[in-house]
């Protein structure tokens, strides 16, 4: 499994309130949530994002609320993968559970620039910035989590 796309870059502590503001949590519709993704940090994001694009951020991405609406909004907006220095733990769980690929790699997160084209090999954890030619090695998932991903998400792994 691979991803390749243009990078949308964010900084530290991107919280779930800016990923999907609570005023839109009166719906569970993936399409409606995607229409407001990142609205309070980058109002133009939903107009710029294209299917397959990659989100890169620095430390503590997804901090705050447990709202699964946050990774749902990101996934439904077309983002194929999120790379960050670190993720907040509930966002990390939720992403695995709903099948949004995420990778922790501090060096890549700091060095990759907005607008770069990046490719990711999920099997090896190798991230390639095709704009600069530099490659990075992300932390691989533990086997336990790989098993959840391979089975198609948490629910399918327990039923």
């Amino acid at each position: 499994m691979n991803a390749k796309g243009r990078v949308h870059k964010f900084g530290d502590n991107v919280d779930t309130d800016v990923i999907i503001p609570a005023r839109y949590l009166n719906t569970a519709s993936h399409k409606e949530l995607a229409a407001h993704c990142m609205e309070d940090i980058d109002a133009e994001f939903v107009n710029k994002v294209q299917a397959g694009d990659i989100m890169v951020a620095e430390k503590n991405f997804g901090c705050g609320s447990s709202r699964e609406h946050a990774p749902i909004a990101i996934k439904a907006s077309g983002i194929s993968c999120v790379i960050a220095s670190t993720f907040a733990r509930i966002f990390y769980r939720n992403s695995i559970n709903i099948g949004l690929p995420i990778l922790e790699c501090d060096e890549a997160a700091r060095e990759i620039s907005d607008g770069d084209v990046v490719s990711v090999d999920f099997n090896t954890g190798v991230i390639t910035d095709e704009t600069t030619g530099k490659t990075y090695q992300a932390e691989p998932f533990p086997e336990f989590i790989q098993n959840i991903i391979q089975k198609g998400g948490l629910i399918k792994s327990i039923t």
Binding site: D15, D17, N26, T27, A28, S66, I98, I155
Partner: protein
């Protein structure tokens, strides 16, 4: 190797004699929680995957608190979906308007969580119940769905940071000042993935409401959970209330901690978190009179909507009036707290001071309803997050503080030390 309090609870629920930090385990759940925002997403996952039964209809709580009483048609539809599911599966702890309260004030009060229990909740502030000696943590809606089906959840066993609390806090210093001080010290990712264990002789000065407030905001330091040992204060609160069987866990003497901090409660000052992160703390001594003029004051939430909080605010407001131009909104956390506050005469004090009293709701804390900010407005709030746009417009600001600081600031019209009112 010794285990921490959190590790012991996880081991017991996983049927293991011992667990180590980093180990991935499956553990049995005593309580699975959701609210009106997260339950519908979990119900969709539950139904889309063809589930036809819940693991135990007494161990699931669905509390309609975020946008209730329903703020609009979409919110009403989410509650309706949850109500129908709860009726279909006979979910005993489905709480709608009239029974509901803010979930993290309500579950301890109703005795649905207690010492030694393992709870997950599709709400990040589920970590609140660690105040009672429980292992309790926030998860997402898919985890909630899986928990409702199987009665289990997977956990990566956390390492821990120990906070040794010593000394006696000065007047006007509450649990909120303790946790804001700690978050200011370690940062919003200072305890990422870890347990925050609060111990020490200073605990005897922290009542159950202070502890619930401290554990509640463990997530604001990135923690997986916050936890307190069980003592007489816990037992007095839980006896005759907790519906399960309490089990008291203490950390082994040789338990290993990633870091240890000593917090001298006697040196703490009233503390405020400035926009837009809870770690941006200043004491009231570092804020000049009139420096931060406020448009709104919110006293409530799962952090500070309990009876001690309302008493602290009323003590300041008694015989005084809210400053002209400030809207002050008081939100008791549950129906029982609401009644108690009414019987104690606190509502007379609030209303005569020019504040309004709401029914229980999360409401303005997350910018839902009942007190949304316009562009450029500032609020002092006893809630837990001050992220960009949290209480309304993306150009509004939230300052986090204790009930005493919030009430004093409402009276003065700017953020101030309660001792100056």
């Amino acid at each position: 190797m010794g285990m921490t309090m959190s590790q012991k609870i996880l081991a017991a629920h996983a049927g293991l004699d011992e667990v180590k930090a980093g180990q991935l385990i499956n553990a049995k759940l005593d309580m699975v929680l959701g609210n009106d925002v997260t339950s519908p997403v979990a119900i969709n996952v539950f139904e889309e995957n063809g589930a036809t039964a819940v693991f135990d209809n007494t161990k699931i709580a669905m509390i309609m608190d975020h946008f209730t009483p329903n703020k609009d048609i979409k919110a009403a539809t989410l509650v309706q979906q949850t109500r129908r599911f709860a009726n279909k599966y006979d979910i005993k702890n489905f709480m709608d308007v009239g029974m509901m309260g803010i979930e993290h004030a309500l579950l301890p009060e109703k005795g649905l969580v207690g010492p030694g229990c393992l709870c997950i909740g599709a709400d990040s502030h589920t970590c609140t119940y660690g105040a009672l000696g429980a292992f309790s943590t926030g998860v997402g809606s898919t985890d909630m769905a899986a928990g409702m089906i199987s009665g289990k959840a997977w956990f990566k066993v956390p390492s821990a940071i120990r906070f040794n609390l010593v000394g006696k806090p000065a007047p006007y210093i509450s649990g909120k000042d303790v946790i804001l001080h700690i978050i200011g010290e370690i940062g919003v990712d200072g305890a990422l993935y870890k347990s925050m264990e609060f111990v020490g002789e200073g605990l005897k000065y922290l009542n159950i409401d202070d502890r619930l407030c401290i554990a509640n905001m463990a997530i604001e330091a990135g923690a997986k959970n916050g936890i307190f040992p069980v003592d007489d204060i816990t037992r007095e609160y839980c006896d005759g209330r907790y519906q399960g069987t309490p089990v008291e866990y203490t950390a082994d003497e040789d338990a290993v901690y990633d870091e240890e901090y000593t917090i001298d409660l006697s040196t703490l000052r009233p503390t405020v978190s400035f926009p837009h992160l809870p770690e941006n703390t200043r004491t009231v001594d570092e804020i000049a009179d009139g420096e931060v003029k406020i448009d709104q004051c919110v006293i409530g939430s799962c952090t500070n909507g309990r009876i001690s909080d309302l008493r602290a605010a009323a003590e300041i407001m008694k015989g005084r009036h809210i400053a002209r131009g400030v809207r002050c909104i008081v939100i008791p956390g549950t129906q029982a707290i609401w009644l108690q506050a009414m019987h104690e005469g606190l509502f007379d004090i609030f209303v005569e001071a020019g504040a309004v009293v709401s029914t229980p709701t999360c409401g303005p804390c997350l910018g839902g309803h009942m007190g949304i900010l316009a562009a450029g407005e500032k609020a002092v709030s006893t809630t837990n997050r001050n992220f960009v746009g949290r209480m309304g417009h993306v150009d509004s600001e939230v300052y986090l503080a204790s009930p005493a600081v919030a009430a004093a600031s409402a009276v003065k019209g700017y953020i101030t030390d309660p001792a100056k009112v």
